[in-house]
Symmetry: D3
Subunit: 129 residues, 6 copies
C-alpha cells in the first residue's frame, strides 16, 4: 500500500460508502455524527477507506460475508437492514439474500434465521413502496 | 421441491459433503457418529442434503458466508478450520480467505479476527506439509 | 429410524407444532412463509418432524432446555415469548418459568435474566386478558 | 469479610443502588418485583450488597467496566441506558462515555458501537429535557 | 424467605454443591480459590446457597437448563463437562444428555452442537476408565 | 484532529503499543504479520494510532474497559492474557484485575468469570517465574 493521508482515506471511503449504501448510508452516518463525529469519521476511513476499498473481493461477495456476519451476531437488526439494501445495490438478488439466511440457520440457529427473515421482509416491503 | 425420502436426502447430502469437504468432512462425521450417529445423520441430511444442495448460491459463495459466520461466532475454531479447507476446495484463494477475516474485524471485532488469522495459519501450514 | 419421506416428516412436524404451540406457532410460520416458504418448511420438518418428535425427552423437559437456551442467546425475545407460551401449554407453571430465569442469571448474567423477566411479564399479562 | 445476614446485605445493596442509580434503579427493580420479587432481591443483595460495595475499585471505574461489558453483550440496550446514566451520576463525563464506545469498536465491532452511540444519544437527550 | 446469615448460605450451598458435583466441584472451587477465594465463596453462596437450593425445580430439571445454556454460550467447554457429569449424578442418562445437544442444534446452531458432542464424548470416556 | 498520514498513524500507534504491551505486543503482531501483514498494520494504525492514542481516557481506564469487554466476549483467552499483562504495565494491580472479573460475573455470568480467573492465574504465575 502506498502511503496516504487521512483525508485521502476519508475521501476514498466516502465515495465508496455512497456507491454501496446510497442515501441510507448517508443518513446512518449523519445520525452517528450528531453525537460522535469521530465514530462516523473512523467508520468512513477504516471500514470503507481501508477495508471495503481493497480489491481482493468484489462488493457483491463482501455483502455476502457482511450479511452472514450480522445474522450471526443476532442483535444487529438495523445494520442488517442497511446491508441487505446494500446487497441489492451491488448485485445480490432477493432470492440470494434469503438463501444466505437459510444457510445461517445451520451456523447461527433458527431464532437468528427467523429474525433475519423478518428484517428481509421489512427491507423488501420498503422497496415496494 | 419434489418429495424425497430421507435416504435420498442422505445420499444427496453425503455426495455433496464429500465434494466440499473431502476426507476432512468424513473424519469429522465419523468422530460425531461414535457418540451420536443421529447428529451425524441430521447434519448430512439437513445441512448438506437440504441446504447446501440448493442452487441459488454457488459453493464458493456459500463458503464465504460460512467462514464469515464462524469467525463471528468466535468459539468455533475447529469448524472454521474445516470450512477454510473447504473454501480452498471450492475455489477460494488464500488471499480471499484472509480478506474475509480482515472484513470481519469490522463486524466481529479484532480479537475474533486475530483468532481467525491464527486458524488460517494452521490451515495453510498443514497444506504445505 | 425407519425411512420416511419429506411429506411424512412435514405431517408429523406440523401436528406436533400445533400441539406444542397452538395458534401462536401457526401465526409465526405463516409470517415466515410470506417471504420464505422454504424456511417455514425446514422448521416444520427438521425442528419438529425430526427433533421434537423424538421420544428421549418429554415436551416439558424440552421446553426447559429451549427457554434456557433462548434466555442465554439474549437477542431472541420474540422466540422466548413463543416458547414460554409453549412451556405453559405442555405443563410448565409460571413459577417454574421464573425459576429457569433465576437460574440463568448464573450462566447468562443479570441483563439477560432481566430481559427474560420482562418477556415473562408480557406473556403472563397477555394470558390474563 | 465478616459474617453478615441477608438483611444487612440487602440494606447495604439498597443504599448503594440508590446512590449509583437514583430513581432509575428504583423503577427498574420495581418493574422486576411485579413478576419476580426474588430476582429483585438477588440483584440488590448479590450485585450491589456483595459486589459493588467492595472497595477495590471506585464506582467510576466500575461503571467503565460495566458500560464496556454491556456494549459487548450487544443485546442489552435498556441496561446500557441505565448504566450510562449511572456513569454520569458517579463522575463520568459524556465525552468519556463516548470514548468507551469508540474503544469498544475494536473489541465488539462497529455494529455494537453504533448501537451504543444511539443509546448514548437517547440518554443525553433525556437529560436535556 | 426467612433471613439467613452468609454462613448459613455458604453451608447450605456447600452441601448442595457436594451432592450435585461431588469431588469435581470441590476441585473446580479449589482451583478458583487459589487466586480468588471470594469468587469461590460467591459461587457457593449465591449459585448454590441461593439459587440451586430453591425447591421450584428439581435438580435433574435444573441440569437440563444449565446444560442447554452452556451449549448455547459456546465457549464454556470445561463448565459443560462439569455439568454433564453433574447431570449424570442427579439422574440424567447419557441418551438424555445427547438429546439436549441435538435439540440445541436448533437454537445455537450446529457448530456448538458438534462441540458439545465432543465434550460429551470426553465425559463418557472418562467414566469408562 | 489534524490531518495525518498513514505513516504518522503507524508510528504513533507503534510507539504506544510498545508502551502498553512491551514485548508481548511485538510478539503477537509478528505472529499475525507472518500471515497477514495488513491486519497487523491495521491494528497498529486504527486500534493504537487512532483510538488508544486519544486523550479522553487514561491508559489504566482503557485497560479496565478492554478487560471487561474481553471477559464478556468469552472466547478471547489469549487476548485477555495480553491485556491483563498490559493492565499491570499501565498501573492496575492484581487485586483490581480480579475485582473486574468479580464484577463481570454479574453481566457475563459465572462461566466467563471462572474462565477469566483461570487466565489471571496463568498471567500471575508467568510473572512469578
Amino acid at each position: 500500500m502506498t502511503e496516504k493521508t487521512d483525508n485521502e482515506r476519508f475521501e476514498r471511503g466516502h465515495a465508496l460508502l455512497n456507491k454501496i449504501h446510497g442515501t441510507t448510508g448517508k443518513n446512518v452516518l449523519e445520525g452517528i455524527s450528531e453525537i460522535s463525529p469521530d465514530l462516523s469519521k473512523f467508520i468512513t476511513e477504516y471500514a470503507f477507506g481501508d477495508i471495503y476499498s481493497r480489491e481482493v473481493l468484489g462488493l457483491r461477495e463482501r455483502q455476502i460475508a457482511t450479511i452472514a456476519s450480522l445474522i450471526t451476531l443476532g442483535d444487529a437488526a438495523s445494520e442488517l437492514k442497511v446491508h441487505m439494501k446494500a446487497g441489492l445495490n451491488v448485485g445480490l438478488t432477493k432470492e440470494e439474500i434469503i438463501e444466505i439466511i437459510l444457510q445461517m440457520s445451520l451456523y447461527a440457529g433458527f431464532p437468528r434465521a427467523i429474525h433475519a427473515i423478518k428484517t428481509a421482509k421489512e427491507v423488501f416491503d420498503e422497496l415496494k413502496e
